[in-house]
Each structure stands twice: as C-alpha cells, then as structure tokens.
Subunit: 332 residues, 2 copies
C-alpha cells in the first residue's frame, strides 16, 4: 500500500525469479502450478499492477498512445471529435492522450511537442494558428492527421468538412427564399474554416446573380461579445438585412439572441449543429455535420497511416453537410 510494487518485489515475495512472474502473468503456460500459485498469491497480496511503459521500453515496442491536440474540450465540437477519435482508436487498444493547446498559437506547438515526447504513435490535431511549418515538419516524424484544416503543402492526412459546399447551399437557399438583403456573420480569416465558409457564401450569392456587396459582410474576432455587438450594429441601420447566415455555432447563437431580445423577425441559417435547436423560439436552419464522424474518420486515417508508414501519399477526406430546418423554418 502506498506505492505500486514492481515485478521484482513480487518475485522476492514468491521466492521465484522475476522471469517466472512475467511468464505467469502473461499466461505462457510454461510455469509449474505450484510456482504459479505462489506468484498469483504474491501479486494479490502486494497489489501488483503491470507497468506498461516499462514493457514498451523493451525492444522499442509501441507506446500504445495516440495524441489529440485541441484548443478547448469544453467546446462541444471538440468534445464530440474526441469521442469519435477515441472510439476508433480504443478499438485497437490505443489510449488517448490529451494535449490542450489553449487559444494561443504557441500552445499548439507546446502541446504537440509534449505528446511527441511521450512517443505517441500518432497525432490528431485541429490546427489553429498558422503553425503549418511546425506540423509539416512533425508529420515526417510521426503520423499526423489534421482536422477541419489541411496543411499548406497537404503533406499530412486530413479530414475536413465541406465548408464551401455547405455555405454555398445555405447562401443560395436564402436568395431562393426571396431575401434581398442578406448578411454574413463570419469568422476570422486566420482559419481555413472561416475562409472557406465565406467563399461559399460569396459563391452562392454570385451564382444567384447577386453583386459582391461586401459591405454587408462582418468578420468577427473569436469573442462572443463581439458577435453580439456586430449583430446589433448590423441590424440597427435603416436597411437592415432580412436574413443572416452565421458562420459558426457561436455566431448563430448571437443571431438568435438578437431575435430574442429585439422581437423582430429575422431569417437565420447557421453553420454547425445545435442540439437543442428544435426547442428555440425562433425558426432556424442549420448546416449540419457530425463532429463525431469527423473524429472517427480522423482516427481511421491515423490507424491506416500508423500501419502503412509515413511514405505513402497523404489522404484527404471531406465529409458532407446537411441543411436541417427547425421550428417553422421549413415552411418559410
């Protein structure tokens, strides 16, 4: 009690050699029943537990670890992603090691370094900062899968959402519904996600013959309060939009908050799923996809590369989105 004994301790108590303990515990079957009983008794009495990393030390065998780097698990998106990765990965009896990168760019690098130092067999990363160089280097040393973004040279496997397609569909939908003044509540251009969704929005508008009225587009910082401010600014003018396309979860909720507070009607389409959207007081539509599926795909790509090696050409997958309607939105 107090500390966990080693195999040597067990061996001493059972008056056998450590090898006999090892053989007994792994069920090699080449141990006499008498000694085996003594070993098992000693294990029980001492509360021995196997030491996995000492085992891994031997003959450079694998660590049995897979790393996951995200900014913030409290964000449901990352949490669901983690669940998906874990489901796939734990099926191969690999354990998930979490590296929180925080919001700053440097944290991402620190996190990945820390995981690599633990000799994870692979890494699932949601890149945030423009730290492509670092990841590009890392992916030559160990399997790396990027999620929601891909490296500039696409050297690492990646799983992304069809951000462009989903945004374009939503954008066109709003035009087809007859909205003349449509606002885009966008994201920082630092992220590929933000860029793609904005491109999709613009493409949708253009395809429907709308001029590039960039004045209506609002690009936001990561802040939630900022999203609220932009909504009020956007809606307070004389020619306020009749529809808003929000580029992510946070912005969608900000738009809904504006409707709830002002009481004015506003057609809202948002990117990212919201579990409780069906209970909202205002009808909304959402460009949805499964974060868990994203995680599963990432896990599968990672396993494939862990087995296949670093030399094979990188694979890139994209998962589709669905436009879902909640409340009375379907009838608009």
């Amino acid at each position: 009690m107090g500390t966990i004994p080693t195999m040597r301790d067990v061996a001493q108590r059972a008056r056998v050699s450590p090898m006999t303990v090892s053989r007994t515990l792994r069920g090699e079957g080449t141990v006499g029943p008498e000694l085996a009983a003594r070993v098992l008794a000693a294990v029980e009495e001492l509360g021995y537990r196997h030491n996995d990393w000492a085992r891994g030390l031997k003959s450079g065998s694998s660590s049995g670890l897979v790393g996951l780097v995200v900014t913030n698990l409290a964000n449901p998106f990352y949490a669901e992603l983690a669940t998906g990765v874990d489901r796939v990965v734990s099926g191969e009896s690999l354990q998930l090691l979490f590296g929180s990168s925080g919001d700053d760019g440097g944290g991402e690098r620190r996190a990945a370094d820390g995981l690599a130092a633990r000799r994870v067999e692979g890494l699932v990363v949601v890149p945030t900062a423009d730290d492509d160089d670092f990841l590009a280097q890392l992916c030559h040393q160990l399997p790396v899968v990027t999620v929601t973004s891909r490296l500039a040279d696409a050297q690492a496997d990646s799983v992304t959402v069809d951000d462009f397609g989903g945004a374009r569909d939503a954008s066109r939908r709003l035009v087809l519904e007859g909205h003349e003044r449509i606002a885009f509540l966008g994201l920082s251009h630092a992220s590929r996600t933000g860029e793609e969704r904005e491109r999709g929005y613009l493409a949708g508008q253009e395809e429907c013959g709308r001029p590039r009225d960039r004045a209506r587009i609002v690009t936001l910082a990561a802040d939630e309060a900022e999203a609220d401010r932009q909504m009020w600014r956007l809606m307070s003018g004389p020619e306020a939009p009749t529809a808003v396309f929000a580029a992510n979860n946070r912005n969608t909720i900000a738009a809904c908050r504006w409707v709830a507070a002002s009481g004015d009607p506003l057609r809202i389409i948002g990117f990212d799923a919201i579990r409780t959207a069906g209970l909202f007081r205002m009808p909304i539509s959402l460009v949805e996809y499964s974060a868990e599926e994203l995680g599963e795909r990432a896990g599968e790509l990672l396993l494939r590369r862990i087995r296949g090696g670093l030399e094979e050409p990188p694979r890139h997958e994209a998962i589709a989105t669905q436009l879902a309607h909640y409340g009375a939105a379907g009838t608009l």
Copy 2:
C-alpha cells in the same frame, strides 16, 4: 525520417557520447562549444525529439500523467469536467490521459486498469456502475478522486454537487408557485446522483406539507426515447401535472420537447445547466452548477493528494447549485 531517433543515434552522428548529447540538450553549460555545435547539428538533421518516458523510467521518477475516466466525452458535462481537470493539472505540467469506460460497468474497471498500468500519478473517476469495491482497492495504491459520487466507505477524495439541496429548493419552489400536481422525471436508482435528487424532491414536497404521492414519480432508464415516452404517458391522463421537475439535462429536454410538440403550457424546472436555455420557446428554470468548476476542484484535490500521500484522511467537497430562470419563467 520515418522514425524518431534516439539519443544514441544523435551521439553517433555527432561522434560524441550519449552523455554529451544529454548535457547539451539540457543546457548544463559544461559542454564545449565545438561539440555542442556538432550535437545541435545532429539533432537538427536527424529530427531528434526527447523521450519523456525513458526519462521517467530512471529511478522511478513520476510519469507526468493524470488519468480521467468518464463514460462519454460527447456528453457536455463530461467534456467540461475534463476541461476543468486539465486546466488545473496542466498547470503542474501533468498531461491528461483518457480512459473511456463506455456505458457498461466493466468498461470502467478496464479503463482504470489501463490507466494504472501507464503509471498515472492519479485518477479522476466518474463512477457509474456499482464498482465501489474495485475503486476502494485502487485508491489505496494511487491517488483517486471520485466525481459526482463518493465511495461507500468514503475512502477516496470526492467532489460532488449538492444534488439534494438543489432538488429540494426546486421542489419547494414549485409548491410555492402554487402547483398542486407536480411530477418528478427521475433517474435510475443505480446512481447516487439519481437517488439524491429524488430524495431532495421528496424532502421539498414534504416540507411543504405535501403527502408522498409516489404515483407521480417516474424513474427512467438511461434512454432518451424512454424519457419522451414517460413524458407522454405522464401528461396524457385526466389529471395531468401542471409542473415537472426533471432530474437531469436529458429529462429536461424531453419535457421541453413535450411542450413544443403539444403546445400545452407546463411549468418546467430541470437539473443541470443548458447553454441555450435562454433561446427556448418555453420558459424554464434550471438548477445549475459549473461542471468545469467540478473538474477544477477534482484536479485540486488530486494534486493535493499526490503531494500529501495516501495516508491522509480523505477530503470531500460539494459545490452549490443556483436556480436560474430563463424566458418568462422569472415572472411565473
């Protein structure tokens, strides 16, 4: 490229001993500039990365790992809990290792075993099954903190929510609002959480002079569909309740779904916070607490025990709840 080289590889390339590499990398300053340069060059060329668990192997030093056992990270509650634990723990440069227990009881044990095999320095566990015996044994071998539940003999540190108090307050509130027929949409008795919240509900009713009308109480399985069914059954009778107290997140949403579907009014109070409750079309009140705070407390208790040793008496903390009102609920 391909695999990560060892210190020995670097030493060979730089034509020095491994010790010189080690000293150079740790910046001991006792290495000649010439050799140091050779070492650094070799490190760069080979892409050497430090191996943390080989370091830890030496003289049984610490693993730098902390384990977290939860059933399902996709559940926002667990995800926020994980964030809280990670925040505290990563401050001490400890990394978080996940052990997903799945929903079956056996998984919990497997997960904890797997983490212990990795020699985590401590374990944060959200117990699900009645596997107290196992955990009670484990907590004599390494620091264990249980969350939302405490072991039968209270041998391990624990952080819980004031389930009883929060439920009692909500229960009384409904009576004070004048509701005569109040239903409790409860949880399985297998969990301490479910038991406590039901006890609190009953206590609140009794304190207000209400007889123990157990007929109204519905105990649910873990199923979401089951919650919906029970809501419909509950509300379809001739003397349907005018208020429902839902024992958790899932049940609260089921109650809201009933209101959304039927259009009938119903006073709802639910346990657990819901991020978007303010946007719901029906007013509700929630017994809230911060899952992240729960995680932080757990992390702090764990650190304290890691430092203080297994012999000190176990500590138990409970965090308070707040009753919050959303929509028009405050005016009811």
